[in-house]
Amino acid sequence: MSIDTINNDFADLFEQGKSLLDDKSSKFMNTKREEAFEQFKRLGVPTLANENYKYTNLVPAFDHPYTVDLQYRTVMGDLNELFYCDVPELDTNLVLLSNGWYYNQNRKLDIPEGVIVCSLQEAAEKHSEIFDKHYGKYAKPNEEGIVALNTALAKDGVFIYVPKNVVVEKPIQVINLLRSDRDLMATQRNLVVIEENAQAKLIFCDHTLTHSKYLSNTVSEINVAKNAIFDLYTLQNQHLNATILNSVFIRQEANSNVLSNTLSLYGGMIRNNHYTLFDGEHCENHTYGMYLMDRNQHVDNFTFADHAKPNCVSNEHFKGVMDDEATAAFTGKIHVRRDAQKTEAYQKNNNLLLSDTAVINTKPQLIIDADDVKCSHGATVGQMDDDALFYLRARGINEKEARMMLMFAFAHEIIEKIRIDALKDRIDELVEKRLRGEISKCNTCAIACNQ
């Protein structure tokens, strides 16, 4: 199918499914939906001709007759029973999503008063004063075709609101389960609002539970108000037949502090769009990412740090290990706008290639329009340090183990940035398993994923 046919099919879907899409969605959402659809008609699904998608061809992923759920589909069985996240000592507020829809039997959460965690649909109706203020304000449907598509088709997802001065101690863990007996395209839309002085930690986990082919298009909008502290951890662990498009838009107000860590462990094709807008002075942002790819997997991390205000600090570090026929791409953009003086922006991308058929394409970019700044970027592609290898071998460690240790050390630099200890230990364990070629799922997991 050509790209035009794909785009036309979506247009047909939108027009024919309009009444289903509008049903149960708030009026505000539906207005945004219309606007976004116009943008999608203009942009379409990005192709290789789009400079930002130069190394990721989405057309084959879209070129498939997926089922699209325009309404909540009742989940068979109790997801709470079927799935439980087994991370020792990681006590989280667990929220389940099924194919991008907020699960209607989620357990009651242990959250401070005033904090809202609910479905996006519910928030649009019940908390419209918050919802309308933030929804659709940070994502860029006018620039990204897949964001426009998401906004046009989105009906549900998770909504999180942390009021002023409230600290949510227990991390909120949102698990999106892709579970369908038919090939499915899921659209998920999340909105996170962290008010002044508030603090919260959010973990997004994606899991595929059946062998169907999936295309998941998720957009998350996150607003972090003054003096707030926010952590975002994204764990991507799907099967080879899944395409994950994950776009995150973060807006930071003055003095806020955000840490984002995207860990791609497994998945057929992963595209992460990570936008950060510095919309206040003295913000601090740390964006980290790690990708471990083998077989014919593909991962593409696109980040954009938009320094619109002076005196902000951003620090970005992505690391990847590629084996077999895996391909990876990294695009990091830092834009320091005119008058965003005293900006400090750093960016690094390191890659290890383990086979001759693995490919890495990296594009770290600096766009600097202010003079009093400190900006740097660096990218490396290489193999393991022979000296380090020799050092280990000289101490009686066999080559395979020595390589494993070095690879693990390489990845650990990103893992150690995680600010939740239990999660950090867990990821360490998962990564080690992953590097040893064992299936990277939890021991007690009841679900047959990754097969």
Binding site: K363, L366, C375, V381, G382
Partner: protein
Amino acid sequence: MAKEEQDKILNEVTQSDYKYGFSSDIDTDFIAKGLSEDVVRLISAKKNEPEFMLEFRLKAYRHWLTMKMPEWAHLDIPPINYQDIIYYAAPVQKAKLESMDDVDPEIRATFDKLGIPLDEQKLLSNVAVDVVMDSSSVKTTFKEALAEKGIIFCSFSDAVQEHPDLIQEYMGTVVPYRDNFFAALNSAVFSDGSFVYIPKGVRCPMELSTYFRINAENTGQFERTLIVCEDDSYVSYLEGCTAPMRDENQLHAAIVEIIVKENAEVKYSTVQNWYPGNKEGVGGIYNFVTKRGICQGAHAKLMWAQVETGSAVTWKYPSTILLGDYSSSEFYSVAVTNNHQQADTGTKMIHIGNHTKSTIISKGISAGKSNNSYRGLVKVVKNCEGARNFSQCDSLLLGDKCGAHTYPYLEVHNKSAKVEHEATTSKIGEDQIFYCNQRGISTEDAIGLIVNGYAKEVINKMPMEFAVEAQKLLAISLEGSVG
């Protein structure tokens, strides 16, 4: 440095904006404005070219018609009307030149003013020069002396007449006419340029140089340089250019092709100083150049060194294809933009042969309201073992209205490759200026000093005469940018 010398330079720095901005009154042979198949045929006929050249031009022209001007660069270029350009202008000359005396005195005066000696006797330095004015080559010096060694150094037109076999063999092999919009345009209408052929085992005893000058109004300059270096040979080639100050934008679209065979070495240095437009950004040259070399044999070596200070818009990516095993390439660049200048420049290193090596050192300096981008590609193909690349791109910002951008592309398809890229952006440290001030050096001079130090790594790679010119140019280009 002697006191007078210092004063002289200071005087030059403070007074001149663009000192090559005069124009000369020379009898020039124009053709009508516009571009069509007839114009292509006319240019070919005027140059009395063999059939294969005309065919090449026509193929290129027909292909050009199907292409669009590229828009991906970080440049803001107003639409160019390609029918509003004169594609051929050449100074009228009497028959064939026998000696120096036959060169039009006005042309001689022009080049004397530019400091380019056409007269071999007066030459101080050991440099052979090919002088190209508007569309055609005026004079090539030391031609005979070089011929003794078997070196061919002549204008492209002469080469077409005298060595058609070589031209046919090599032209378009490195930059095919289909390569890009400007390469296709150039291939259709190019008028002249230089041709260099270094036979096997010969080390060229002197620096070869081409000096390009745009003089006529409303014209575009389209020249083509072809350098072929046989096994075990060596040549150092320099290129310089200037143009008069005019309110219009003139188009310059050139092609440089370099073929380096086994164990051969080529150094290609450029000091690009086309008219950059005035302080308000009116006028100036659009410099759209395709430069590419291929290291064909094992251990071949190609070095690019460039100082880019001129042109309203620069769009230029000297590239190397590293085909031979153990071949290597280096790219050193200083790009300075001031006022409303825009530059999008960098390099491409394509690693194909095993154990190939490349180094990229790029220094960007932006001042005024200019934008300066580095755009580069390092590609390691699948079967290329042991490739090594190191890239460093630094940007210096002088003033808060300018921009410095870096767009490196690293594409690695082999695990044995080691590719590193690093870039920094900063302004001149206040502590550095303070240090100089403390020692009685004025702020303006301090900045000149610091900028020169910053660019030294690149300028050191240039031949002596060029290095001196380049340093002065840096100072002039930045004149008035610091307040």
